[in-house]
Amino acid sequence: MKLETNRAIASNQFSEALRGVALDGEGRVYAVGDSSVKVFSSEGELVRQWKTALPGQCVAVDDGGRIWVGEFEQVEIFDAEGRLADTWKDAGRLGLVTSIGIRDDDVFLADATARWIRHYNRVGEFLNNIGDRHRKGGFHIPNGVVDFAIDADGILHVANPGMHRVERYKPDGELLGHFGRFDGRDPAGFPGCCNPTNLALDSSGRVVVSEKAGPRIKVYDPDGEFLEVVTDDLFDPAAKNMDLAVDAGGRIYVADPVALEIRVLSRRAETVP
């Protein structure tokens, strides 16, 4: 199999910033940037858009079709039509929300201000922090973003770029393990000061990561074994903090913050001569 890019979504839809991408069960693509949410069909047609109160930093879609947008010190929750259903604030606790994960009765909000992940229940009651017991006092994020994904067993996989690791946590904050090491030459390692910056999981539990300087997309198996570099020449050298999503077919959606569009990377069977 070979990975190739074959299209872009949301071109010319954002003028200043594109920070987050998410998918729903129907294959619709949700992009957040500037101060708006834009929804695209799986074919890339713009089907809906609305404004957010503050610049959106990330986006997630729950199993009921509600759209959650992380902002500074709050989360806005919209129904599928884009109507504001709720706004979560947690004064004195919640900072810049850069990633959202929702599973069953749990809601996890990555707080880049504290460098922790905040764990709430579905009605917004705070339960615990994740990452606060780290010896560095939290995730080391010189890039200013905490990103994570939740696997089928409810385990959180968190990018800790300053330590060149992907760490796994139970919802109660217990560290289960990690993989990753620095290496500026071997693509199996994470280069530079602080990579990976973002991650997502595919349906098989493979870990897809994005890196900065130079920007590239890589895949690791669920045990952290390096599988492949998907692309290392597609993005502008200045691109960083590229948010990711993966659909059921294994297509990787990359929010390109420089081109201001979503790149879709899909697998193609190589032609056998």
Partner: protein, 195 residues
């Protein structure tokens, strides 16, 4: 006796005169320095080593190579409040060098070894990756070559290191040779109040 006194007086007068002349000269130089209204400085938004978006280009070392002083008046300065205090700093290490047995890059970036790396805060003796690090530039060694500035620039780093003119060293040449050599016209003569 009187001849001897006379000779001493003459020598003393001459010495005091010479000292006064020297003092006057020094005072004059200091007065010029103190009263100057312009000084050389570096516009970091123009300097190719720190200019955002100037990626994949060679470092410019004109500040190090073109100053009339043996050791340039330009220094790299790390603004700690903007530094990520990384375990592996791309301005300190040559992050493209082979990884050593300690898991760190095996080579440093600075050719003059002018950057000091020190763990700060609570120190984890078992896992150095758990520490934050402070990177301090030794101004006695730095010659302003700009390599660390280039590597600290976004997106690789946070851009906390920049080049600055040390005004206590700069000779304030009217026709500064660095300014003449600077390919980006980033070396400017500004009104002193803005420097």
């Amino acid at each position: 006796m009187s001849d001897e006194r006379s000779r001493r007086e003459v020598l003393g007068t001459a010495a005091r005169g010479a000292a006064l002349v020297g003092l006057a000269g020094l005072t004059g130089v200091l007065a010029v320095k103190a009263n100057k209204t312009y000084a050389w400085s570096i516009d970091i938004t123009k300097c190719v080593n720190s200019k955002l978006g100037a990626l994949g280009v060679d470092v410019c070392e004109a500040c190090a190579t073109d100053c009339v002083l043996t050791l340039s008046a330009v220094r790299a300065v790390n603004e700690f409040s903007e530094c990520g205090r990384c375990y592996i700093c791309p301005a300190y290490y040559d992050i493209t060098s082979a990884v050593g047995p300690d898991g760190l890059p095996s080579e440093k970036l600075c050719p003059r070894d002018a950057i000091e790396r020190e763990a700060i805060g609570w120190i984890d003796p078992d896992d150095p990756a758990n520490n934050f690090y402070e990177y301090t530039i030794d101004e006695k060694l730095c010659n302003g070559c700009g390599r660390c500035v280039m590597e600290c620039k976004e997106p690789a780093g946070l851009g906390s290191i920049r080049l600055e003119v040390r005004h206590n060293v700069c000779l304030d040449c009217n026709r500064c040779s660095i300014a003449t050599a600077c390919p980006e016209e980033a070396y400017e003569r500004d009104a002193l109040s803005t420097v």
